[in-house]
Amino acid sequence: MDKRKLFISPVTRIEGHANITIELDDNGNVSDALFHVNEFRGFEKFCEGRMYTEMPTITPRICGICPTSHTLASVKACEMIQGIQPTYTANLLRRLMHIGQNLSSHALSFFHLSSPDFLLGYDSDPAKRNILGIAEKFPDIALRGIRLRKFGQELSERITGKKIHIMGIAPGGMAYPLTEENRKALLNWIPEALQTVQLGINIIRKFHEENTAMVQSFANSPTLYLGTVGSGGEHELYDGKLRFIDADGIILQDQVSPQQYLDFIAERSVNWSYLKYPYYKPLGFDKGFYRVGPLARLNVATRMKTPLAQKEFEHFKSIGSGKPVHGAFYYHYTRLIEALSDVEDAERILNDPDVTSLHIQHHGRWNYDEGIGSTEAPRGTLFHHYKTDETGKLVKVNLLIATGQNNPSMNRSVLEVARQYVKGDDIKEGMLNRVESAIRCYDPCLSCSTHAMGSMPMVIEVKDKKGELIKRLERF
């Protein structure tokens, strides 16, 4: 078969993170799409031989956007090895910094990365389709977005002493208490943060109303979903049990301990990507792909924990008439509903009288040779799994990263959008942006991400069977 290839690469292909090959059939129709992830660091190997207690410091370096989630999954695995639990106050502080992580990551994704598409338009000048372009046209929105991210980062800093790659955490709890001064400073942020999130929600709801057909049809194939829920099925980010649902919303597994993850999840490595393809084991590789992250978490949850977020959640649920909502576009909306719940929950925790208590750490030591820790990173469920020898040295490390679990669906979303917008040699810039935004909906973090910010420039090469270049298109 004479397959022609359309090669889409962020120019940062040169930086080497991710690119896409779209294969055309004889008639110029899209026959396949391969989403290549170009990033490999090798943590699973080089952590072997180190002490398990080093992991909460090493593993955040997997990703600068969600380091706190790695720290938490890691420290929980360590706690299982020691057989201890963090103190009540330590859990409050961890929840708070995890909220900070989620909020700053969601603010970055929405305001820095995606809002240019909504506010300036998909077909607007790519050189301006970034946060600085927003700052020129909508200075208030840009500033608010920057400050919402800042609040998230400050939650980390005021609790752990550092914004990125936090330090103040250890098995059993936290290294420093929260001072009254820091508690007050954080509380001061709440009203502004609430307003900013509401502003974001208004932007996305307006965009949805004006583009209903596109939003609903955009990369909307049904999948399974995985997310963490509390004991009553409520939305949960820090600590809970796993729930899998199918495409119709039927609960497949509920209240599964993350420590049983291997019973339900397997992964396959493929030759075209450094990112593996996880799947829901009972259904196998071909049928078992599932999604994680904000859309998945809201699809699986029965309710939200806070009042404003609950109201917005009800609106979200009405879109699918109670069934799961599949359109990848709804990732943006659900991300903001989570941000709303983050801010409300932060206020609740900051007002808990125990949050400044000095009882922040239980002490333990090595007791068991295996530990599994899990948490909801901004992009989805994250698992750290360690095995040690009897001196506490790691002999096996397994990391199941959030973005990895969306990989099969990202690949399929790209294929669907390409089918809709790519016809033979007819390649338009706006179309490219849609292929790209199919990926961006997932806010993929291919460092655990490719281009964290701004528009993803692309080079498209149309190639014939022998790999000879027929046509080249660049979009900057």
Binding site: R13, G16, C63, R149, H451, A452, M453
Partner: protein
């Protein structure tokens, strides 16, 4: 004073250095007054044009990083190694103690969660990993370093602000300067 050109690049790192750059928060608008950010994951990712200052995050892990770094060196008047991975490979370089095949097999063939069908990725569109990870200065001449994992935002802003005003930064003045 004419407006400067600034580029920032992300090679083999975790993006944490770039996140710390974003942690200068509102001051990003001050930087934008003094310089056009002509290439960066923040605004745009096209190939590096000629710039006055290039901030380079991450170590050199592959053939593509290597080529890109040589290109940046040609284009940049001042090349700054941005963060510990760029300066001395840091966590990215921890795989240097093992041979590459073992490292790849551990992740793609022998992981606990893998099924039996796995292969080590080798598609022609993928970058080729180097046997050893290198810090920037083993490949090109580096003009300035900002240590830290990541460097703290105030230090980043200070260094940028000095360069953008044609002064050489004095790292002795940075408050939170340290490796790690």
């Amino acid at each position: 004073m004419s407006k400067k050109k600034l580029g920032t690049v992300w090679l083999g790192g975790c993006s944490g250095c770039h996140m710390s750059l974003l942690d200068i928060d509102e001051r990003i608008l001050e930087v934008a007054k003094l310089a056009d950010i002509v290439k960066s994951p923040v605004v745009d990712g096209k190939e590096m044009p000629e710039v006055d200052i290039a901030l380079v995050e991450g170590a050199i892990t592959s053939d593509e990083h290597y080529r890109e770094l040589l290109h940046i060196r040609k284009q940049a008047k001042t090349l700054i190694a941005f963060g510990d991975c760029a300066v001395m490979t840091n966590v990215t370089g921890m795989r240097n103690y093992f041979n590459l095949k073992d490292v790849l097999d551990t992740a793609y063939v022998n992981a606990i969660s893998n099924d039996k069908e796995g292969k080590v990725p080798d598609h022609p569109s993928l970058l080729k990993l180097n046997e050893k990870v290198l810090p920037l200065q083993e490949v090109v001449k580096v003009d300035f370093v900002i240590p830290g994992c990541p460097p703290d935002a105030d230090t980043i802003f200070y260094v940028l602000f000095e360069f953008l005003n044609d002064r050489l930064p004095d790292l002795g003045k940075a408050k939170k300067l340290k490796y790690g």
